[in-house]
Symmetry: C2
Subunit: 229 residues, 2 copies
């Protein structure tokens, strides 16, 4: 209940980001206030769970009325640390990296790519998402110069660990890795892994077990797709 210090469960943080997106949409459509039930419905979660998540921020609603859309949005943004723009670097501009660099969803949510890096001479100098692709040799200078603390790895798996080492050596402390390898990073560095094929394989398993499972399928397990992934 302490508003800022006591650590918030990671699952809650992931949902807060979802609430933030929904609130942004509501604010754009002119809504002034919203109830927990409606917000939970739009986010795909349980209303009680949503209120519990918000309780980690301290009281921020008005009983009998609901939540102020803009106020709650700003409060969540502040807690998540996205109320100010954060500098990120992106390494690897193949298909996936280019998609990430050009993804408007990042810029609109407080993330700015201050450096795009690739090892291929063919890609260096290209402009993707409004920024030029730089050579890997400039990585260290850019990271230290911009004080970027977030790095995104979209390279082939073979070089991902090396890039991770260089990023951490340059001062990056949070890494989002799309390469299908398990990275090892020094203590104090957070690494989040997004493996697209893992997501598909989980789907395949659910599909298979549904086909084969006419016995268990009685209850229709609806796992309340909690889109954290």
């Amino acid at each position: 209940m302490n508003p800022s210090r006591p650590r918030i469960p990671e699952a809650t943080v992931a949902r807060l980001a979802v609430y933030l997106r929904v609130l942004g949409g509501l604010a754009d459509s002119g809504r002034a206030s919203v109830s927990s039930g409606e917000l939970a419905g739009a986010a795909g979660v349980n209303p009680a769970g949503l209120r519990k998540d918000l309780s980690h921020l301290g009281p921020c609603g008005v009983r009998g009325v609901g939540y102020d859309v803009a106020g709650l949005r700003d409060r969540i943004a502040r807690v998540l640390g996205v109320e100010r723009s954060r500098a990120c670097v992106l390494v690897g501009l193949g298909n996936l990296g280019s998609a990430l660099a050009d993804y408007a969803g990042f810029g609109s949510r407080g993330f700015e790519f201050v450096g795009l890096f690739d090892s291929s001479p063919q890609r260096i100098g290209q402009v993707i998402g409004g920024r030029p692709v730089l050579a890997l040799t400039e990585l260290d200078d850019v990271v230290t110069g911009t004080a970027a603390t977030i790095g995104v790895i979209a390279t082939p798996a073979e070089v991902a660990q090396e890039i991770c080492d260089r990023l951490t050596a340059a001062g990056v402390r949070s890494i989002l890795n799309f390469a299908p390898v398990t990275l090892t990073a020094p203590a104090g560095v957070d690494v989040r892994q997004v493996d697209l094929s893992v997501e598909l394989q989980v789907l395949a398993f659910l599909d298979t077990s549904r086909d084969a499972g006419r016995d268990t399928g009685s209850d229709a397990r609806v796992p309340a797709v909690g889109g954290m992934a």
Copy 2:
């Protein structure tokens, strides 16, 4: 412990997919057997947890020796339902969709895109990842004709729900959604959400709480940048 039927926790399924990837690498490098400790290290998990995960498949190791790499790999692949190729359709071939269509990691893990769809006339007819982009009007015929059960949505958020409806109406029962919206699907359809900006926001939160949390950072004298934003 029942080898195949009793439902395996979803968290375990996700890790099994990671083990499968690691085992594939070990098999390629000629390794014949591997211990739980080594495999856990390569996958970034606890050895005891790994053994518990594998226990859901029934006994599949040899005490005192370890696990047979190829045998365990095939067994996991069979449980996950990826030992045979699965037909998938992909809707939305912007930057992200094109990256997905061209991502070799899918094909090598038992997923084949049997149909790429987009609404833009400019993209229809283009060949991406070896397959032509089709018009959305053909979606229903392709899904029913190929018996595809998995659909991937990489469209703008505005049309994602409509695509979801069309996919489920055509018979798709598993959906991987990259659009930043919460989809509602009929019961019996699994939806997994991958929101890239949510991942970054979780990183931002960890970063912020680390900056503010002077208690945890006891051991690491992080010289790094002088912390002026």
